[in-house]
Structures are given as structure tokens and as C-alpha cells.
Amino acid sequence: MASYAVGLVFRGGAELLFDGVKDHHVTLPSQSEPWDMKQLLVWIRGNLLKERPELFVQGDSVRPGILVLINDADWELMGELEYQLQDQDNVVFISTLHGG
């Protein structure tokens, strides 16, 4: 049962759903199986999210308009919801901006 210390970063306005805190360093509870992104989203919703969950998650995944980056790469390159987290991973959730 490995411990997972991961960095969670919210940008582009996504931080406003987390009391305006942009950078979170969290330790995920130990479990027998490795953590995957799907579980991480459930955990964030239950433990970090302060308001209006529908602005962050939708179904199993993040809502349209939020990009997810794992260690500075698009999560689509890493397996999306099935990606298995590693200790010290850095996950960024970024709302797409529409201003100009």
C-alpha cells in the first residue's frame, strides 16, 4: 500500500471552486489498488471542492471546458480516467479562458 503525495493545481478560474486556492499538496489515503484519475476526481469532489460541483465534474469526468494535465502533458496522452497516479505526480485542472 503505497502513499500518494500529489500536487493538485487549479487555474483559469477553476480555483474559484476551491476557495481561490490555486495550489494544493495532498496525500491520498492508502488503498490496496493504485489510485487512478477516476478515483481522484471522486476524492476531489468529496474532499476539496467547496461549491457547485457541477461546474467541475460531470458524470465520471471533468466538465467540458476544463483541460486536465498530468505532469505538464494533456491527460489524453496519458490514458485520461484510467491513468494510474504515481507518487509526486502533478495534476493541473485548467478552465479554458474566453476573454480577449
Partner: protein, 283 residues
């Protein structure tokens, strides 16, 4: 389009002397710039610095498209406009300012709204397209029009103290739909009228857009195909993100595209292609 320019005049050589010295540009690159035309969609916080530096650098023709008029609340970030041009069409105000800076550049103001009816025609006249507007339907419209015309889209956005920049549909990289197959729900979208913006942040992002256009137009590779640049102005931090490649299942740039002509993007996104309505509701 004007006939190809094959030589630099003595005035050109003097005007562009500092950039002609650059091995990355040189006379050949300068000639490419002067034979390039660029359509700037939106003469606002991003479009102003972008058009300013493209005109200064000697782009041959600049299309300046905006349906809006200059307001006092624009001037904290839309630096081509002035107190005297309040009430004038932004496209015209920008064209006047740019002509004062470089009369060698052909500035074409379009005081109209980009739509499914005119986008392909307009884009057809410009090899480059720059997206600087600030609403979701126009984003999908511009993206699809660029994909259907086979043109790169140098796209940026800025809100509050943050900015984002990507070159879509360029050398195997994704288009906007590859990243965002489903439009965001209207209540998740914040624009400058709602969220505010520090004017110099679109200034930085618009300059970075201009740099990428100048690189591509002069034959240098762009740094932001399949890359997303994220800027956090509060931290002064830039982060570059590797994006997915073009998606085979993409509705517009994929292998069996469902979108083969432009749609009704306001209906597709469930919101108006403007930020005016939201502003009126707030006041």
C-alpha cells in the same frame, strides 16, 4: 490582393533595418512578411497589440474585423483606440492608428460580425487567421472555418490575470474541437465583462500571438503547435503543456468529419456570439 512585392524599397530597408539583421528573418523573411495577409478577428485587448506589432513588422495586408464600437471601458487594454475615437467602429479606429504607424501596410477594416455566412469568404482572402474574440460560438466558428480552409489558427485568450495561447490546426496538431468536442455550458463561461481583466495581460498574450504569426509567416516553425502556453500574471509564471495530437474522431478535422460546412454556432453552443447580453443583464 495586391500584386506580389519582389523588392524592398530604400525606405523599407531603413525602416526594417534592425530586423533585417536577424539571420532568422533577413531579406527573404521580410519579403515573406510583406506578401502575407492576416485576418485579425476582434480589435480588442488581444487584437490591438497583435495588429500593432504585425503592422510595425511589415505584414503586407491586415484585415481588421470587429462589429463593436470603441467605449471608454475598452481603453484600459485596447491600446490602439483613443478617447477621440470613442463611438467609432473599432475596426476603423484600429486601421487609422496602424496607418499612422506604417502606411506601407494595407489595412482593411471590416465593421461586421463574423458569421457562418461570411467566414469562409473572408478567411479565403487571408492565409492567416488570428482569433482574438471573446465568446464561445465565435471560437467554434473560427476553428471550423480554419479547418475547412486548411489554415492555422493562432489563438489566445486572457481573463483576470491569466492568459492562454495555442496554434491550432498546424502541422498535425489538434484543432479547437479536438480539445473541446463539447461546448461548455453557458453558466460556466466567464468573459472580461464579468470577470475583469488586467489590460497588460492581453497585451502580453497579443504580443506572443504576433511573434508566432511572424515566425510562421517568415518560414520559421511555430513553438505552439500541439502546445498550450499558460501564463499566470500574478505569479509571473509561464507553463508550456504538451497537447494531444489531432484526433482521428474529431468532428471537423478527423478522418470522417461530421462537420463539412459551417453551422449555426449560437445554437450549437446555446449562447449568443457576443458578451453584450450578459453585460446588459448585469447592469
Amino acid at each position: 490582393l495586391s500584386p506580389l512585392k519582389n523588392t524592398l524599397t530604400n525606405d523599407d530597408i531603413l525602416r526594417y533595418s534592425r530586423q533585417l539583421l536577424l539571420p532568422e528573418l533577413g531579406v527573404k523573411g521580410q519579403m515573406s512578411l510583406s506578401n502575407t495577409s492576416v485576418l485579425v478577428v476582434g480589435c480588442g485587448g488581444l487584437g490591438c497589440p497583435l495588429a500593432q506589432y504585425l503592422a510595425a513588422a511589415g505584414i503586407g495586408r491586415l484585415g481588421l474585423l470587429d462589429y463593436d464600437e470603441v467605449e471608454l471601458s475598452n481603453l484600459h487594454r485596447q491600446v490602439l483606440h483613443t478617447e477621440k475615437t470613442r463611438g467609432l467602429p473599432k475596426a476603423l479606429s484600429a486601421a487609422h492608428a496602424l496607418s499612422r504607424l506604417n502606411s506601407r501596410v494595407e489595412c482593411v477594416p471590416y465593421h461586421l460580425k463574423l458569421s457562418s455566412a461570411n467566414a469562409l469568404y473572408l478567411i479565403g482572402q487571408y492565409p492567416f487567421m488570428l482569433y482574438c474574440s471573446d465568446n464561445v460560438p465565435t471560437r467554434y466558428l473560427v476553428n471550423d472555418a480554419c479547418v475547412l480552409s486548411g489554415k492555422p489558427l493562432v489563438s489566445a485568450s486572457a481573463l483576470r490575470m491569466e492568459g492562454q495561447l495555442t496554434v491550432y490546426n498546424h502541422r498535425g496538431g489538434p484543432c479547437y474541437r479536438c480539445l473541446h468536442p463539447i461546448p461548455p455550458q453557458p453558466d460556466t463561461v466567464t468573459n472580461c465583462s464579468d470577470g475583469g481583466v488586467l489590460g497588460v495581460v492581453p497585451g502580453i498574450m497579443g504580443c506572443l500571438q504576433a511573434l508566432e504569426v511572424l515566425k510562421i509567416a517568415s518560414g520559421q516553425p511555430s513553438s505552439f503547435g500541439q502546445q498550450l502556453l499558460i501564463f499566470d500574471g500574478q505569479e509571473g509564471r509561464f507553463r508550456a503543456i504538451k497537447l494531444r495530437a489531432r484526433r482521428a474522431e474529431c468532428d471537423v478535422c478527423g478522418e470522417t468529419p461530421a462537420v463539412t460546412e459551417l453551422l449555426d454556432y449560437e445554437a450549437f453552443c446555446g449562447m449568443a456570439a457576443t458578451d453584450k447580453c450578459r453585460r446588459l443583464n448585469l447592469l
